[in-house]
Amino acid sequence: MSSPAAAPPKPRRSRVKQFLARYDRAALLLLPALVFLVALFIYPMLYGVQLSLNPAEGGPFSNYVEFWSDPFLRDSVWFTFRLAIPGTLINVAIALPLAVLMRGRFRGKQFIASALIFPIVLGSVLIGKGLLNYLGPAGWLNRTLETLGIIDQPLVLTGNYWGVLLAIIIADLPFVFLLLLSYASGLDEDVEKAAAVHGAGPWQRFSKITFPLLLPGLVTTTALAFVLAFGTFPSALIVGDPSGETRTMGIAAYRAAFQDFDYSMASTVSMLMAAIELLVVAIIFALRRRVHTPTT
């Protein structure tokens, strides 16, 4: 997180001068952005760390100890992962075949792309409200299933885990699809054409060529999908059960800050949330390095 000026200076004087000489005047244009970043992001984050280490009572780490020993707080980690991991996998699994097919030419392609991108305009609060209406006990879905005789009792899909998972899929799929589409449409078609000339069938072309070439983009997309699902906040409050099984870390942090006014604990939860998320993203990218990456 170091700015260019804070990059480690070389040991000898002349080296320092040489180093500084590599900054031209254009680098100055970066200054407002760096000031902004330090003032509104880095400083608040450090302030958060400091807040979290200064609890109302107990030693500097007592908040962290409390987080892991109090089941009410600790379980929020589990609740977050329980939503984020299936949400990520489902979104990527839906987006991958669609993004790959979008490279071809067929009728209705533009329509499919627009239809998948459309939910961006809805926003998570509206999706939450819509799901409350639609999936609720007297909503159209339960009504249809009852009329068809599939169920006797209305399915309970709101106020619990399932509503939030569906909200994650609807809200995040457009972003996942768009990003993957950009990677897929950037692939060189000639490689596949060459494979086709040599007699490779569609499945062989996908598994031996398209998929390996797409893998780096797929990894980045998976990381993004996880980041989106991990931060789910409004839908967990609206369609979920924010005191029970959808009490994610985001809700735990918000509650600590603005209902209990325990800013120190709120910062603790926030810092842990950032650390856990970055750890998962790092693991995703580390896995990417372990798998074979093509050279083209």
Binding site: S2, S3, A7, R22, Y23, D24, A26, A27, L29, L30, P32, A33, L34, F36, L37, L40, I42, P44, Y47, G48, P97, L101, G104, R105, F106, A113, I120, V121, G123, V125, K129, L131, N133, Y134, A138, G139, W140, L179, L181, S182, S185, G186, A196, V197, P202, A223, L224, G231, P234, I238, G250, Y254, A257, A266, S267, V269, S270, M273, A274, E277
Partner: protein, 287 residues
Amino acid sequence: MAAVETVPREIGQDFEFGEPRRWVRTLVWVMLAFFGIHLLATIASVLVNSFAGQWFDTWLPTSWTLRWFSQSWTEFGLSQVLPVTFFVGLVVVLVSLLIAVPAAYALARSQMPGKKYVLLALALPVIVPTITYGVPLATLIYGLGLGGQLIGVILINLVPAVPFAILVLTPFMEAIDPRIEHAARMCGARTATIFRRIVVPLLRNGLLAVGIMLLVRALGTFDLTFLVAGPDSQTLVVALYYAVSAAGFRVNQSIDAMAVLYMATNFALLAFAFRYVNPARMMARSS
């Protein structure tokens, strides 16, 4: 094309891979229909409810009315919420672009050491969950006495917006041929003139795309505004959330009327944006 004709016939047929196999296409349409039906039903339930006079335990309302729209307009103070929403959105977009354009220029043109770290530092606010920096930043903003004020709402919304704008604009900037700038400089143009007459006009598409994306995000970003907004500085999405979470005290239909207004606003903005930029192509360039 002569080379293609020499390919054996059975391979040549397979060669037309612009077109996926029929069963694959059918599967895609079925999946899309499944997704689309539920999505449309979700939206339609909000839409129908906002026009519903009476709707108890039937497929459709038994009577229709427009009064929820006028009621939600006064009940939720939308005459104040809407201007605040647009003001916050516009200021966030303008300030972000003012900071991001020079920064993107520097990142695209300069080969300075430590550029990698700057990019990483810029990616952080985009990837960590908003609530993680939102809570400490909101605490700071309240500490400064800016809580509940417009300036606080604007500041907190800038945090994800500026890095996002820089990261998306940099590839657009890289696509501009530096030789054009060199030529202008040889002819005596100053940096400010180069920016005004060359960089900004060439960047028009990128600026428009980023501006619209920032606006939609600023209008839709719930968590951050929610943390610092007071009664006079609520944006539409936060007012909507309070209405939803206080349901029971509110009439369900007037909440949905507000939700419809919110959706219509966003939809109009995006429809306007997509006339100018193709999102898929734009993402392809930015990655």
